[in-house]
Subunit: 228 residues, 2 copies
């Protein structure tokens, strides 16, 4: 469909511009994507409280309506801008460009973009981030990577959240990881509970490795070099 | 945006045609919408097992990929057709029209349409159903009706699912219902657990009332007449 291609091509140009803007400030940016209610904001809140003193972190919040998430993030003392998409189902690169101007994030910092809760549409839209991080809560079912493969293919990390609820739900962790690797053989996986804090140290280590300057300089080849 | 309006206008014409097709067969159709993993398929599985002998029920399943849900539904002995949307984020009326031809649902029956798991995009697309039913699981957070108001405005019933998990999550049921009524003052609410079966009888009663022939004849005025 040529119209869809036009929209994506326009978005991708602006995303490339964002990537340059972020590289110019030596900022690592992650695009957090998930279903509504998977715990993106709770992961961010705890990350800001635990790591905000170590790395400067700014946040861009995306939702159809309300400032709820920005208020929760601001309560941690973090710089944040809320984008409301109205009937829109995803963030686009142009929205991020505007938010970056308003946010003015510092050099050598980390930028977290919390996308609209939607496991479908944000997969198609590059914002200029280093990578997407897909958050899946264990209450959602282990079949999701196969049913929504585009998102799990577009993400280099899958965070399995709400593992404190594992005793109360039917969720096969190994099957879920196998499903994710079937659509994306290189996907990394972390298991944690943003509510109890279990496993958050693995996420912080993951973020620290990505603040490594070599990765900043050459994001595309990091995996290769890290493995060397 | 005139293009968006064109797409919606085209969809709405086909939806009206579906509505006529369904009315011609005296079929009541519900469009089940929710985030991924809210339990739409589990609600359907239990409904088919408990009510399939009482009312003929057919199912149309929507997902980006896989036949998983259709296989689960078929295992109950129900007629079903799976639609895969690929990169698409919602069902459209034209897809339902095709599925109806293939499914060939009997007269005087109930049709359940399980939309793609997405709390955003399916809100915009009428399929010709009698009404949308929004399913929200208590693991997703009580703020969702305000953050995704279009879906809760488009639905005449909100089903709060997974209430068996209430002791293990921070979810304020009253606040959630108040949020839903703020965006849709007339929304009905049912609380249930498709996993344990608690509250399913209320859902079955709700379905039975909607199979009432007066409602079939004049869906728009049912609320008024039922209250008279």
């Amino acid at each position: 469909m040529s119209l869809e291609q036009d929209i994506l091509a326009g978005n991708n140009r602006l995303a490339e511009r964002n990537r340059g803007w972020l590289a110019g400030r030596n900022i690592v940016a992650f695009n957090l994507v998930s279903s509504p209610g998977s715990g993106k904001t709770t992961v961010l809140e705890r990350t800001l409280r635990d790591m905000g003193g170590e790395i400067p972190i700014s946040v861009v919040e995306g939702d159809q309506e309300t400032e709820f998430d920005a208020e929760r993030i601001r309560a941690t003392g973090c710089r944040t801008v809320q984008i409301n998409t109205g009937t829109g189902c995803h963030l686009e690169a142009g929205m991020l460009a505007q938010a970056l101007t308003e946010l003015d994030p510092p050099v050598d910092s980390l930028l977290m973009i919390e996308n609209v809760g939607n496991l479908v549409c944000p997969a198609m839209f590059d914002l200029g981030e280093h990578t997407k991080v897909a958050i899946l809560s264990v209450t959602e079912g282990a079949d999701k990577p196969l049913k929504y493969p585009h998102m799990f293919r577009a993400s280099s990390l899958m965070v399995l959240n709400k593992i404190d609820l594992l005793p109360h739900v039917d969720f096969d962790v190994d099957a879920c990881i196998a499903h994710a690797r079937r659509v994306n053989p290189d996907v990394e996986v972390l298991r944690l509970s943003a509510r109890t804090g279990e496993g958050m140290d693995l996420w912080y280590d993951w973020l620290r490795r990505r603040m490594d300057s070599r990765w900043l300089a050459e994001p595309a080849s990091y995996g290769e070099r890290a493995g060397a």
